[in-house]
């Protein structure tokens, strides 16, 4: 479904991605792990088209989307819950979610809203409040909910469990599992590498802008290097 070949991206003169090639098949959940600064966030942003790509190509659903504007990629079904939440602070939670469905037909929005509220009841409780006043974890829920409102064909999650309470971490992973079961394609960046690899079909290990290792989730979990470097075991 997604094929990225030798993607490069730079901040000024510093190359943050040095030729990443990766593939995600339809319905697959793929985890991306790596230390701070490995380039995971940069990779997701480049995929969404909000970070310029200096070399390489991206094919999605058989189409070359490398030159496509970010909003067009979103319309093709690539939705992202970004790092650092990035909610629209002064807008209400309701509006934040509705904007998540900006590209979607109107009639389905109410139903989707209810689905998100069912997932994160606290958002419903606070739906009229400005998103900026939410606590860190609540904003994280909002960011995930907003991405889901776009009815993604492929969902990009950048550290979705960050700042969430244990109960909710579990909840979020359950959501991912459910979505996966419904056939959604998911690209998951997580520091909680163990949990991520556990539910992923496959995983990639990123190191300073390069893919250094790849395999099924289980393979990676049992890989000595990975265990030492990322799982702290």
């Amino acid at each position: 479904m997604l094929r990225v070949s030798s993607m490069e991206s730079c901040y000024g003169r510093i190359k943050a991605l040095k030729g990443i090639s990766l593939e995600v098949r339809r319905g697959e959940t793929v985890a991306l792990v790596g230390a701070n600064g490995a380039g995971k966030t940069t990779f997701l942003r480049t995929l969404s088209g909000v970070q310029p790509m200096s070399a390489g190509s991206i094919h999605f659903d058989g189409e070359d989307i490398s030159r496509l504007r970010s909003d067009m990629r979103m319309r093709r079904g690539i939705c992202q819950s970004p790092e650092g939440r990035q909610v629209f602070g002064p807008l209400s939670i309701d509006d934040n979610l509705r904007l998540g469905a900006y590209t979607q037909p109107k009639h389905q929005v109410e139903g989707d809203l209810e689905k998100v509220f069912a997932m994160f009841p606290i958002l419903k409780e606070k739906r009229k409040l400005p998103a900026g006043t939410l606590s860190g974890g609540q904003q994280q829920m909002l960011a995930i909910g907003r991405a889901l409102m776009g009815r993604p064909k492929m969902l990009l999650l950048d550290e979705p469990s960050m700042g969430l309470a244990p109960l909710l971490v579990e909840e979020v992973f359950n959501v991912v599992k459910t979505l996966k079961a419904q056939g959604m394609t998911i690209l998951l960046v997580e520091q909680n590498a163990f949990a991520a690899l556990a539910i992923a079909d496959r995983g990639y290990v990123l190191e300073t802008g390069n893919v250094t290792l790849t395999g099924t989730g289980q393979e990676l979990i049992s890989n000595e290097q990975v265990r030492a470097a990322y799982l702290g075991m």
Binding site: D71, M74, R75, C79, Q80, P82, V87, R98, L99, Y102
Partner: protein
């Protein structure tokens, strides 16, 4: 009483011209967080072009349409050439760019249409309306009326439509806006087109009262900025009230206190007001958390 009423009318008329300018600021600010110091020039363009096209012998409706269309195009060109390329730059940088743009627009009009002052005939004649011994010009009602309409339209757009929300979202967080599929370039494009057109409409409306020349944009732009800030940036109703407030304070100041200090009086009061309302009359509370 009649005297007070006269000051009030006078202040409202002047204030409404400030309000129209302020609304233009609001529109662009809401889409991009940019304070467009060239806003005054759009007002000037509206008035000057209306004069030029009518003098050139075009039928009035066509002249007016052109006088609105051309500034809109100028606004769009400005956005594409000067604002879009520097997205994410510091506020002051953008301020300087828009100041540069205003110089260019003003300079070109000066070279093209000269430095003369011009007037347009009032839309509904020059016979003053008497109310309780005070007089009000029919043109003032036009200005006030259109200002009112624009506020309502803006309020509806920003608080009731998804596209309005999308515009706000773009100004709050451009990255996130792009991630939810908003074409932020288009949003900016539209905001400049709309506010330039709005400015031009304002320029046409106020010219019968204020006269126009290549350099009226400076003062209107400045007062419009003040009005927009006083009202609370980004709030249409605030912009209008801010404009009226400044206008009325000037008139009352000139009438009751000292005409020499009439321009200073609103500033003194506004400074005091800001000390108690640091985000203007209707500026939203900060929602930033740490």
């Amino acid at each position: 009483m009649a005297q007070f009423l006269q000051f009030l009318f006078s202040g409202m008329t002047v204030g409404a011209t400030y309000a129209l300018a302020a609304l233009g600021f609001t529109l662009i600010y809401n889409a991009s967080n940019v304070i467009n110091f060239a806003q005054g020039e759009f007002i000037m363009l509206g008035g000057m072009l209306a004069v030029f096209f009518t003098q050139a012998g075009l039928p009035l409706p066509i002249a007016l349409v052109l006088a609105i269309l051309v500034p809109a195009i100028v606004g769009v060109v400005l956005e594409k050439l000067a604002i879009e390329p520097v997205k994410g730059a510091e506020t002051v940088t953008l301020i300087i760019i828009t100041i540069g743009a205003s110089l260019v627009i003003r300079g070109l009009i000066q070279v093209w249409l000269g430095k003369g002052t011009h007037s347009l005939p009032a839309f509904s004649g020059d016979v003053p309306i008497e109310i309780l011994g005070a007089t009000l010009m029919p043109q003032s009602l036009w200005v006030l009326g259109v200002t009112g309409l624009v506020v309502v339209a803006l309020w509806y757009f920003f608080s009731r439509t998804l596209h309005g929300k999308a515009m706000l979202a773009t100004s709050f967080n451009r990255l996130a806006a792009e991630l939810v599929g908003i074409n932020t370039s288009w949003v900016l494009f539209m905001s400049f087109a709309m506010s330039a057109a709005l400015g031009a409409v304002g320029g046409i409306l106020v010219t019968p009262i204020t006269l126009t020349s290549y350099d009226v944009g400076i003062m209107l732009g400045l007062k419009g900025f003040v009005a927009a800030v006083v009202g609370g940036l980004g709030n249409g109703l605030g912009a209008v009230l801010g404009g009226l407030l400044v206008g009325i304070l000037e008139a009352m100041g000139a009438g009751y206190i000292s005409s020499a200090y009439k321009d200073a009086i609103p500033f003194v009061l506004i400074l005091f007001m800001l000390f108690f309302m640091p985000r203007g009359l209707f500026g939203g509370k900060s929602t930033d958390r740490v």
